[in-house]
Subunit: 342 residues, 2 copies
Amino acid sequence: MVIDCHGHYTTAPAQLGAYRDAQRAALAVDPSHVGEKGSLSISDDELVESLERNQLRLQRERNIDVTVFSPRASWMGHHIGNEHTSRHWSEHCNELISRVCDLYPANFAPVCQLPQSPGAGIESSVRELRRCVDEMGFVGCNLNPDPTGGSWDGPPLFEPYWWPLFDALCELDVPAMVHVSAACNPNFHSTGSYYLAADTTAFMQALTSGLFRDHPDMRWVIPHGGGAVPFHWGRFKGMAEENAASGWALLDDLMSNIFFDTCVYHQAGIDLLVGVVPIDNILFASEMVGAVQGKDPETGEYYDDTKRYVDRADLTDDERTKIFEGNVRRVYPRLAVPSSTS
Amino acid sequence: MVIDCHGHYTTAPAQLGAYRDAQRAALAVDPSHVGEKGSLSISDDELVESLERNQLRLQRERNIDVTVFSPRASWMGHHIGNEHTSRHWSEHCNELISRVCDLYPANFAPVCQLPQSPGAGIESSVRELRRCVDEMGFVGCNLNPDPTGGSWDGPPLFEPYWWPLFDALCELDVPAMVHVSAACNPNFHSTGSYYLAADTTAFMQALTSGLFRDHPDMRWVIPHGGGAVPFHWGRFKGMAEENAASGWALLDDLMSNIFFDTCVYHQAGIDLLVGVVPIDNILFASEMVGAVQGKDPETGEYYDDTKRYVDRADLTDDERTKIFEGNVRRVYPRLAVPSSTS
């Protein structure tokens, strides 16, 4: 069985974008606009069509059984508006994911976004996480380490600000994928530099602070293969060893809590990933339909068809099974898909 | 011959730090403090001692012939004070590098820092670059893509703001190493996440803008193995191909202008680097004495002894010679070291 732990609903019907446009229009008039949650009118048929032509088609073509599915990451837009904006938007996005997973329980497992907002407390994120897990059966969440969209002037992940959320993650036994949204800073390209920078930054915040000592049961998935981390494994390993006496974690310590996905879009990158990161810490993922949708003209294969790279990597059958299925189930224990879908 | 294109004077005598402390003290009283350049009293003997015990010792131990040598990157601190602060500081730092290279012309070749300052024009940087190259024989400069130290609220590298500097780089025929200084943002660890994020960000700014079309003779060295770029080569290649029609560069195009160093501190990382990046675009470097100074307990070897990794990589003799010497000479044509130093 192949479980893809990183998919976003990037192909939602146009009504979702229209709802967001209406929020933006109200905020343009009044940045402190509260408004109401309102409604979103999308039929089941529209959901089905948006998925059948995209994610479900690609699942079948690529022999992926299940996708751990969350709202479109680049649209989380936590920097837009205020905490009310973010709450209404997140609730709609999460409810849409819940409907998708109810329509296709064998194909998708739900992960929520959080209603984070710069300067706001983390309590509303805790509430939405509980609602999604307890009431709708979600199996994880996406946690944005920089809800400012590229100003990076909020509290780092080692600040007590985050602890109520970390406590809830542990209590509910769900992991967080640490994933920023689109940048609103012209220095960054969202999926090209900002995402990868955020992945590396979050990892480093965990390494220097040793924050998992206070949250030993918390699990993070760092997407996009961990940003720059596996490529610079020796750099991080050496820095951690030099600074262990001043409270840093060692890489081995972090491997109890941090996991990397396989969203690395070429064979040499996947080979490096599986060569340096412990196999137990690698979760299969492709992030389709996502940042790179084309085919490599040299191979005729889709760049984001990461299953091919894992299939070809120098791994034992047991190791490959861990990456494709076992590790994902261990990190997402609420994932209830049966062990065979066919 | 082995030329290390990336070394910083991280071991300068204490008077240099004292000068900086005096600047900070004056700025604490008056943030718009102008002051005077003043003097820095360091004897030749003190320079010799600071180098013999560190960089020169390691050069000998590791069979490195020449180091392209610049002021300590983490101390450039362009965000500190104002343009006057930065001008006085940069002039002293560069003059110290010049003295080092005059003392050891066979061992070091000079590269300057620029007196960048957030909100200030780029003209003073152009002036200091010309002074260093024309009057003191410098062979390149370090260009900080985020002189704010981690706020990332200045102009991206594709803005016309930078063009006078780019014109000067081309006219003088010297490359720029794109290298940030220490972060003053608690979200970032300077050498762990900020450096690597900046490397990737600068690369992406070149990719999305196609800025080298307007500066076809300019050369950038992106340090630390290019940040996350080689690990995500397929991601960047695919994105560029998808967006070529909207003005992005292709990776092949960028390879006329962008070069990566070998500051990647483990064998698997170097193997990936030389496997995916064209050999002509890889320059040997170690950044010693730098971010990682310890030995890997598993191998007993220094993490930053990158020559060992390049020696062991799957390369032909001709390819290795290019990385160790030929490429560096091509990218730094003002480098005048004879082809044999022994």
